[in-house]
Symmetry: C2
Subunit: 453 residues, 2 copies
């Protein structure tokens, strides 16, 4: 469709490697400090640039960064982001899908078979035309009914408050852009799923302000990494003191990587804090259907992650703020879901009996079994962890295996796991403030885990 | 998936309507001039804002713009963009797909039936997992083979130079972002398909610098609206004199709305101009398979528009610049195409016999017949037009029907067509410098056209 006719001349790329451990905003200012691209491409090529090294996320191998004279400053930054996750991706793609090796397959197969039913393959001509960019009405209506049913809403939720687009990364990108101007910020508690950083920054140029949590227990009714209003207040005031404008608060519920589910009274406290400071609240409930302890209160929102079909690219937004709906709708032009896929998703969501009796029953049983297997192993090995009941992961305390309490040591341990073909995510990837914490996806080859040294 | 918990209170929205005919960058500075959102939401609510009116594209009904205190400046701008195309969209959606009324249906049905073949419905588990964000390798390989075949390339084109994402609007957004920093610009000749304006601005904050063309014929070997290097040079120098940094040149080939196909020597001239000034060249060939005069030299690139299945959301980029590939790849995370749809598209592109013998043959014959019908009617009515052989549209000179040569008159004529249920696009929507030109999509109910008064 589009072709770029400029040739690349890799020999003329300036070498700009940046210091290890440089943080996100520093790395950006490094690139900006070079004066963007620094005038014409010709100028850039002849001007020697400072030699530095960058390692955006220390969880991946540090690698030299070749700054491209063909790209904008943010274009160069986009490459860094890609490089930073390259190792994990390579490992992922090299590690082919296999029923024997990967228990996650069986859960996935359930959705797979459901998606291949005859009524799934509708290719109605209107599905092939330009859609309403917010999503076809039939799907938004289905999402509204789904939410009404699973949330036990006192009044029916409305299709007009629903937006459907191609994944939650896209939703974060669109929301950050319409709620914040460039350089403004959003509050989030650490540790958190690190993908949010790039989702709100790459297009939106929106930054995160961290509310650092730690594992210390401060009172009898507290738990490790507990988010409190006091901590929210402090982070917000600190940011404001530094001249940073904060526009919103992101809550992950269930929390990734902790697996925590906030209580109703906690949620109420956070919302009151946000209201007091006129912050939007973005609640990411991507794992809401993956709560496998029935004593918990799930409020499920449909997403491709909850159905373990990430390749389907599907995420939904529910908001009563029509200004937000209208603004995000414009950006939906860039995040469209194919019409025939919207039909498939609507069919999937419509089938309550299958979701309840087949999918969720099997899914929760398998998650519970896998969780029990991993946590039993951890107990046997005497490794502490947070015992939660949501998501596909366990947050593990490997601090005692670090020689010193540093993120460099954490990275070495991470590499030792990788050398043994075990791909974990280390705490630094979640901006955890304490070195030594790791997230394990417990549906992923648990029997091959080789712990520590 | 994500929910926004902030309630909307429409009564507190400040009313900010802006002057008619205000241009794009002016409109932005109007919003920016309000100091973004102007501090806290509270402040914004109590501060009275200037009453103005905006009409971004005068081809749609001007409507008052309610500035939202809940959104960023760019979030408010996103709403304006949506409002500006609302009328056309409403008309489109109200005008249901109908075989009798809309000849375009039959062309579409061919792809529709092809997409419903049994081998199209593969739902292989890897298609449901996170893809390579640049597109599955099997599809990028198929696109490379498709291009090699249809471009009669001397050497095979490479899958590593191909990126697949959800539509060409997304491609423009990603390319503008990685090639330009905020506020930088891209050259484009007017009239042009107006959607590009929002595609490069909404996320990228990249502006267009216009090379204004007109209908005057200046010599025996020139044609109306001819793009020359002289005009490119002048527009570039003018922009630079105003301190605007230009990073790229966009060429539409076949041109939309003119229907022009550039000759090889013209293309060479434009590329040399771009090389001289170190500009990237982005060639949009969205209608390359829709050249229906066989004496022309099509260089087709697969896209959903060429197959008349816009709802499939599919666009491709081919570039040999690996820096551009890598940077766009990061942004592809926001523009993913569902795995099963990637399979369908690969199957579609693989079937040369069907494309050549069935699809293109029928498509070109129908386009040619519809083009002949419309242009014969125009000749009978004595209405001048550009007689071209590509795309689904004709560029018509209705200047003699304007009482005065103004865009206000053009808008009135556009409305008269709409009142008679004929949806045309007026020249202003393409930033045409002369009032009175209209684009007609000739597959759309040509027999119902009621011309002029």
């Amino acid at each position: 469709m589009l072709s770029i006719l400029k040739q690349s001349h890799s020999s003329s790329s300036s070498s700009v490697a940046m210091p290890q451990g440089l943080d996100f905003s520093q790395a950006l200012s490094e690139i900006e400090g070079m004066g963007g691209r620094g005038g014409s491409l010709q100028e850039t090529r002849v001007r020697p640039l400072a030699k530095r090294r960058i390692d955006m996320h220390s969880f991946c191998s540090p690698s030299g960064f070749q700054r491209s004279p063909y790209l904008s400053a943010r274009g160069n930054f986009a490459i860094i982001f890609q490089g930073s996750t390259e190792d994990g991706y390579r490992a992922y793609h090299a590690d082919k899908y296999d029923e024997d090796k990967n228990p996650n397959v069986s859960k996935n197969f359930k959705v797979f078979f459901q998606l291949t039913q005859a009524d799934m393959n509708l290719m109605d001509p209107p599905l092939l035309q330009y859609p309403d960019w917010k999503g076809h009405l039939f799907l938004r209506e289905e999402v509204a009914r789904f939410l009404t049913y699973y949330c036990k809403a006192p009044a029916p939720l409305k299709a007009e408050n629903v937006i459907v687009l191609n994944g939650c990364g896209s939703l974060f990108s669109a929301l950050a852009t319409v709620l914040c101007d460039p350089g403004e910020a959003v509050l989030i508690a650490t540790p958190f799923y690190g993908g949010i950083t790039q989702s709100i920054f790459l297009y939106g140029n929106v930054k995160l302000v961290y509310v650092y949590l730690d594992s210390k227990i401060t009172g009898k009714s507290t738990r490790p990494f507990q988010l409190t209003v006091e901590k929210l207040e402090k982070a917000l005031q600190d940011a404001r003191a530094e001249g940073v404008t904060v526009r919103a608060l992101i809550l992950l519920n269930p929390q990734n990587p902790l697996g925590d589910i906030y209580s109703l009274s906690e949620l109420q406290d956070y919302l009151e804090f946000a209201k007091r400071h006129e912050l939007h609240v973005i609640v990411d409930e991507i794992y809401m259907l993956s709560v496998f302890d029935e004593s918990q209160l799930p409020t499920p929102w449909p997403s491709s992650s909850d159905f373990a079909v990430s390749g389907i690219r599907f995420g939904t937004l529910y908001t009563q703020n029509q200004d937000v709906i209208n603004a995000v709708a414009s950006l939906c032009y860039f995040h469209g879901v194919c019409g025939p896929v919207q039909h498939k998703v609507a069919q999937l969501l419509r089938d309550r009996e299958w979701i309840n009796q087949v999918y969720l029953r099997a899914n929760h049983a398998r998650l519970k079994a896998a969780h029990t297997y991993v946590t039993d192993e951890l107990k046997t090995l005497g490794v502490p962890f947070l015992n939660r009941n949501a998501g596909f992961f366990v947050w593990i305390d490997f601090r005692k295996y670090l020689k010193t309490s540093t993120f460099e040591e954490e990275l070495l341990l991470w590499k030792r796991f990788l050398d043994n073909k075990v791909l974990l995510s280390c705490g630094k990837a979640f901006e955890c403030s304490e070195p030594g914490w790791f997230r394990i996806i417990f549906a992923d080859k648990t029997h091959r885990l080789q712990l520590g040294k």
